[in-house]
Point group: D4
Chain length 248, copies 8
């Protein structure tokens, strides 16, 4: 029941088309969720260019296919994360231009153009083992309409390589640091740039990294200011967050 | 050794005022740190209006007093965090207009005006027990030149109070959520606003909250997008981070 | 040795059919477990309509089949939890009307009607990934004779959907909340309803949820009153507990 | 804006006392919280006899005194938990009939009679060291209008004492088990009674009990059905929950 | 209701002094606890020479004094563990021959002689910092009637000192090993003796020993056979256990 | 170099068959390990009837076969723990009378008779899921020459079954309690018997049992005296320990 | 831009071959990374005989093959750790003299001789289950040019075997101790030798060893001086570290 | 019983001054520890210049004073760690030239000169809060006869300060890195120097550093080679270890 609906109702009361008692009931009956829908909107759909997102982990191939089939009717861009190759094969039957990022395990379907930001998100990581999370973050950031720069071979064990790329990192509006064994990377970058840094611990590693907990603790405790942390392996969440900042 | 220094040196070589060998040595000797100093600047000092910051925990009253005495010579604004009342008493001897926020345990000294942003940082918390962290964050954000709105009585146990303040929260450019027993608050706000949310777990609580770990885990695992997390009780870090975002 | 057995024995003593010494021995010999059986009864069997229950995890297909074959001789309803499809196939050979809930991994066999309560148990969860536990809880609650209402798409990230279903949740006599990544859901519901809430953390999720520990801690620490917690993924236990309450 | 307010407004529209545009605005402006207040009520105040509750931990004596002074104006019963003796002394100045339970650290002020249930809550614990939590639970349950039976010297190390009290425990409508070193007690009772059991782990103990974590895990893993768990030392929460069940 | 009671009852039935109905009721009414009391005896009191034990931690001086005053009436030996000096002073007023072991924090009162075993319990520890637990164990073992040999300066860092005492350790019937930083000591002794070894981790140490958890894990994981573990700092429990074995 | 060797050497010195210098050298040269070998003997081999033991986990089928082939040459009894069926098949080729306990995963080969103790070890567990550890413990205890009584269906959830078997448990010289979900069982038995109790936590279970940690903590914290704990699932270690005690 | 480059540039300025402005620019343009490269060199390549190293875990067979193909062009020795047999098969196609250590999971390719140290690294472990880490350490140490002595059957459970090998261990310049279940071994050796000891916890074991955490804690807490610890299972890291020390 | 003792004994046998039987007994009786003492020497005392060390934590002032009084009789240098000021006051009464390092909490007493190494140990830390551990390490290293260079203001948050000191750090023979909040510092230095690095996590910090565990994990997981770790706050152990390496 939007503004014009209310207006019509009141006009009908005024013109005696509808009596007061009935009108009271109609206003009272405005379902909570509808009113809620206006105020507590699911904002994603309201802004052109935002994709529909599906988290595939724990879903069957069939379920993923059905959800995407439904999403396709709405003609939005689509992002599927944690998607297996088998899922991609099923989705390709629905939509031949779907793309798969094997490393990042994302399926992307573009249905309309979106304006990409001029400012960019820098995604920094130390080595090849963190690439899956980097790719998930990059695919997410891009389909949300952000320019992305990846700097992926810059660990603290060979810190001169990091310095060589410092200008690119400093040029970003927001920086994502992805690291598993080398949680220190977030601290070092936090000390070198003057931008918000979103740190993503990864579960890659062995021994006492405890599936990413060591990296998470290292990042959460970092002395360098301007660092905040998202969940282990959560490349999507980091990119979503970075996108919010990049578009401010 | 900046550009004009190098120019002068080369002119001296050209004009034979200095011989080549000596000039080679001078260039070679450019201390790493100086070159570094230009590129890897300690950016804080470069921007007028940024305060000097001192973290008092683990320092003696005497040490805090000495550091602040030195800072006062530079005529910058000053923020001291985790400061005891005893420290404040010592500082007031140096500087009678120093202010103390007893709850937030901050000392602030303003030496010059700074421009405050129009956009604001919302700092949200559930109850009175998280107020110390809220105050630390607020004092930090303000002396860094940010407008701040505090919304401090909005827990999920009485969610209608949160909804009553939703417009203020949604109006912010970035939101800080401070919560100890009620890590859920970050999730709920993350689902209701379309802005970056920085969550600060607090160590307040009893039983199985483990000094803030339960809140930290709850926040890190939050499904709602746009949330990132800083260290337990780190109101300063949250505000520093929010300030970076608010000024983008 | 029940009351009438004792009566008969005493009558026999009185009528000298049996002498005192022998009677003393008979009474003394009442095995502890029999006496116990009367007082410390395994109450389940005493009330018509309660099912026999078998926890299949860690048992072989053969063992499950044997146990159910024995149970069938007692003509009670039967519930098997954590049952694989293979187990179901084996059971169906014994009993063609056995039903399998694939998602909830339960086998149910109904041998007689049971009265279902008028009051109902609401089972609430945030998303599709917690459905296995929801189904286990629902199957359990139903075969124990409870009316059940499932509300399964109401996460805090889109809280308006939860409010739209609030009347159904509030109408329940007891509420089960099932959540993995979104332990916050229990807190929010605990703040909105005036009924006992049984929270079930689930092991679904990734990163720092640690197989459900994060959800468990979040729920245990919830400020909202009226919440208590059962073991991770223990849909059966939650339903058993809710059934006890619903039938009060 | 309640039903009659809406009715009056519509009558005003009908009689042209107010024009449509203004009425639309008034209806639109219905503050969220007001609507919310009707639906998402803070139910406690709505039912006569429920006390006002204040959690004193982390508050100053002054704050506690101020809050209670305000509460006294509403003429409700009052319960303060985690209250120090110093707080009690301050409260007694306001209200000479305030009572203090030193062990349970509660202050209670009764302003009107409340009907006590016939059914009762049994509160069971093993030894003297868990008495503080038992007392907090008992005071809470009583001021919420429940009959309470305490059985406090029944550990599994001397299980015959437990059996001697079994009839009292079995006669309760709901059972609270409080245990620190002896988490086993909840399992044993859960196996002996056919009522909901709310287990409260306590932080009492030494060595590897880790401030109650061992008891919590023991209780959460209990095989016996019908057990659910609240936070460590949370006697108040257990009693609140038990009260909800006892009054069904 | 023992055998002769039953006999009397049956005789009364036979002689019509009591009618059957009443007799049935009497037999039915045999209180559970009484039957239980015969079978499930609290064995400690049954054997002469065993002391009364009181665990003082968490009790007030007044409570400890009252309990011991009561115990003294039974004329048994008495052991109080975790007793403060203040408690000892209070106890000495009741009983001038009470003894205090300051390091072990035990009070002992001997009221009658007990026979001490010929076989002995060896209590081994590495250094001075574990002495408190050694003393608690030794006092306990002695008042339970065991011969005790203490070997307290034998860490693995200077393993030759351990070998010098090996004959004494090997001569024991059961060995208690007390260690905090040096959990390895239990493994080494387990490999050198052919007797049951009871390991007591202690909370002494710094850094990553986590209040004894590191020692506990080290001991629990020990490869050497014949080792079992009791709770951190639980010298009493180790001695109680060793006493059971020593007296076999 | 044993006593008679030394004697012979000295006789040779006395009779001038060997000169002093050479004799000094011989005595000095006694290799540390040999002297050690006499004092620090690997006691197992010294007592007839003790089996050779092999821990198969982490070894290949080939390695296990080779080791057992070598062991067979010594004509001792042999026990292999954590052995797969495939390993058993390989061993049977070497030795047709090898026996396999499928549940306990042990291979046993008896080469000579051993005297079995009259006193027995009771092995108690709650349910079918802990049977693997029970069987490992039983096979170990038996081949070490102990009489064993298994009582395997006695959980605290149906405590009357435990009481029915109490006499058998109390009759043992030492009791092993095996429990995963129901760590409480050890406490209850510890309170009912007057013998050393060795508790084995098992990794069986789900949810927050954390691979046996919950059971381990529950057992370690048990109030009942006389309980000590071995590693999770370590049926072998418990039996080895119990055997040491049973043979005292 | 090295010294002679600068000299030439300055000569060119002096001789007017190049004007000052251009020279300034050249000096300014010295890329950070190049300067960095000189000072912050990746030292490994600078010393003849050091191998190229590749960590294979988490890489595909194809990736490993490509990297090694590239490495082969540089004609250095090559070490691949955590390599599967499948990887080895692929590498052998490129280079028929590649060697595979199946237990240690290393591939080594020797392209030129290197001088081996006279001093040696002792690698000590308790049993067969830690052999994989021992082999990784040994292969690493050898291809880095160190003499290695392995002592692999010396656990504390049979400590005389350790003493028999003590001279070899004491003769080393640095000692690596590899242990999983028997973290005590590091303490014992630390007490017996006067050389730096590098302890490697391994993830081998069961029950409460928690994938090596128990061993790690045991080693970190060791009282014996001279011990430091590397990551769980990190044989490579221990050997790298030992090599640095052995070559001092 | 040393070589000449044995010789004398054999001469006595030869000359019939003592008979064979008695001689056998004497040789047999050679106490284990004496033989052991020769081989398993407590090496510290054997080398001139090594100090006596006393760990004061957990000792009383009286005990520390007594131990040092005894040590003084041996005329060695003395190091006391974790010493309170009160302890120092007591020691100064014994020995007026004792020195106290208030920050490092060490007492040192020099009784003779020792040769200091030419090579040095670099001790690096990030900030003022880690100074206590730095000082403990420095005092230890110096009294063990090592040259020490402290570089204490070089955190990764301002990495240019670290680079300015890189030459000093690289010039050391072995490097100690002390860090609490900034575990990353060890990784960065490990990547920049080609020497063994001993990392000391410190317990300084707040929030999720868990008394140094976060730093410990960060250091243990460091990718950079050449790093090993000692216990939290164990400056003494790091220095002892570094001294062993520095003197190779």
């Amino acid at each position: 029941m939007n503004k014009s609906d209310i207006e019509k109702l009141l006009q009908a009361v005024k013109s005696n088309e509808i009596d007061v008692e009935e009108a009271v009931k109609k206003i009272e009956e405005v379902p909570f969720e509808d009113l809620g829908f206006a105020k507590i909107d699911n904002y994603r759909e309201l802004r052109t260019g935002y994709p529909e997102v599906i988290y595939c982990d724990g879903k069957t191939v069939e379920q993923v296919k059905d959800i995407i089939q439904f999403m396709l009717t709405k003609d939005n861009n689509i992002l599927a994360t944690r998607a297996s190759e088998e899922m991609y094969d099923a989705v390709k039957e629905l939509c031949s231009d779907a793309k798969y990022n094997k490393l990042g395990r994302t399926i992307t379907i573009k249905r309309h153009e979106y304006r990409t930001t001029e400012s960019y998100i820098a995604i920094v990581s130390a080595g090849t083992s963190d690439m899956a999370v980097v790719e998930e973050a990059a695919e997410t950031a891009e389909i949300f309409g952000n320019r992305v720069e990846k700097i992926v071979d810059v660990g603290v064990a060979g810190i001169h390589r990091l310095f060589a790329k410092l200008d690119i990192i400093r040029g970003a509006k927001v920086v994502i640091v992805v690291a598993g064994m080398e949680g220190a990377l977030a601290s070092v970058i936090g000390g070198l740039v003057n931008k918000p840094v979103i740190a993503v611990p990864t579960s890659v590693g062995y021994g006492a990294n405890f599936g990413g907990v060591a990296a998470l603790l290292s990042m959460i405790n970092s002395c360098a200011n301007g660092i905040s942390v998202v969940n282990i392996d959560n490349g999507y969440g980091a990119a979503y967050n970075a996108s919010l900042i990049n578009k401010l």
